[in-house]
Symmetry: C2
Subunit: 297 residues, 2 copies
């Protein structure tokens, strides 16, 4: 049996790689099939690899509880013809401050991805008001940038500490304790399993009440909407595609009915599949954190 | 009369500064009052300056037609107690490639804010596949980073070409021709004028249909919803604040009625005011572009 090939955003040590490793480990335990990884430089390229069947599965971030939706993932899904969500994985985000130096007081700059800098801005303002904040394309690139400079630190994942042998100056520096990121495992081979369904649609014209009928179809059938997000169509400002996450499966008649009726009210309707969702625990992550790691929270 | 003080995100040469300059020029023409500018390092600090009445008005970006909503602006508005939207200004975004060098073929790196790099990624992939893409905290910082290096270019605004005396290697390199950014002029002195209203609310529990009643109240009164966006409450994943832009004014009885009834269905309801909206034209921008500039589109 050939190995399962898993594409993921970013180089080694990023949060998306951690989720890909957990996904791969759990797939191998369940099926016995070997797993190979295929790192990609952008979310667009990761999803393209799955759409073109160069890989079996693509792991991409969808939404962070602090920073909000990741627009490019939604836009690429809308633009693709054949991608389906297989599984949702929710990773509790732990940002750690890593350095070759040993003291906070010695630091003059902190490097990270702008999202990570944004998620730690209160902590940085309170504890390191003097440092300059330097953006990088990924948390792993941040570690390359700091190099051996003991006056520089990077914000990265706990896994990066082990992988690149750096000192952990401080753990859990994120401003909001419940900081989580949702990831999707996406494939061109969808299957109809799991309690959540994601869909997106455009409406014929932007008229009053264009959203009322779609939402009513769902509410009448007691289907909870766990998220709604409008994305610009990019044709012109003010025209939107609506993305919705529903707490129901396509195997249920109530959702099948709602989807059938929904077609009357939408211009283009895309259903990205039904899938299970799993919040990753320390036990899931134990092979990918520094030895003896336990988050203090 | 003391001058009107206008805070804006970012250093000189950014798109937000351009909008602040246009706002100031038009205010001065209309009222005769002088205008002073107060540049701020982040969206949070810009809005804080207005909330604390250190300045009269804050200019911040809200949404780009390609990249989507700017989460931090919505989050800061939700968290503030007393901020109101005075005016909406829509800026057509023109990204230009600026350098000390003269030839595309000589370039080895392109520096810009990650949003600008993202908005030009197709053009960059097609015309400069060999260059490395380097993130910066703003388009103006990108210009500082390229310095006098003729093998480096920055993506910035047309205004930056004049301000920093750089060669324009290429204009309009954005991937989508209708790329616009909406900005809001925000103040702690709100007034009820203009055709658009923005509000946000949380709902008591995330139950099926929590959004149906609010949307129905609006649709029944023929009030168009031009945008909806859910933002995480940051209390826990899956809990949202809903932001809505409405095409109606608080001076109209139909909206007053809808807002009164809306209180029944919401936990916290915040109304950020009614305001006029204006799409900036070349004539509005003529003092802030290079001499003789006319966009080719």
């Amino acid at each position: 049996m050939p190995p399962l090939v898993v594409a993921h955003l970013g180089p080694r040590g990023t949060n998306t790689e951690t989720v890909a490793l957990v996904y791969g480990e759990q797939h191998q335990e369940r099926t016995g099939q070997a797993v190979e990884f295929f790192p990609c430089p952008s979310i667009g390229k990761t999803l393209e690899a799955a759409a073109q069947r160069l890989v079996d599965v693509a792991i991409v971030p969808v939404e962070n509880s602090t920073e909000g939706g990741i627009a490019i993932t939604l836009d690429c899904l809308w633009a693709a013809e054949n991608l389906k969500i297989q599984q949702e994985l929710v990773l509790p985000i732990t940002h750690v401050l890593l350095s070759r130096g040993k003291l906070l007081a010695d630091l003059t700059k902190v490097v990270s991805h702008p999202q990570a800098l944004g998620q730690c801005q209160k902590w940085l303002g309170a504890h390191l008001p003097q440092v300059s904040l330097v953006p990088a394309n990924s948390t792993t690139e941040a570690i390359q940038i700091i190099g051996d400079d003991p006056t520089a630190a990077a914000i990265a994942s706990p896994r990066a500490a082990t992988l690149f042998d750096l000192s952990v100056l401080q753990t859990d520096i994120q401003d909001y304790p419940d900081n989580c990121t949702r990831f999707w495992a996406i494939s061109s081979e969808g299957y109809l399993a799991g309690s959540h369904t994601t869909l997106a649609f455009s409406v014929p014209r932007n008229v009053p009440g264009a959203l009322v009928a779609p939402l009513q179809l769902l509410a009448q059938r007691n289907i909870n909407l766990s998220r709604i997000e409008s994305r610009p169509t990019k044709r012109s400002l003010g025209e939107y595609v609506f993305f919705m996450d529903l707490e129901a499966s396509q195997t249920e008649p109530r959702l099948q009915e709602a989807l059938e009726k929904l077609k009357q009210y939408t211009e283009v309707l895309k259903i990205f599949g039904s899938y299970p969702t799993k919040v990753l625990q320390l036990a899931d992550l134990q092979h990918f954190h520094p030895p003896g790691w336990s988050s203090p929270s």
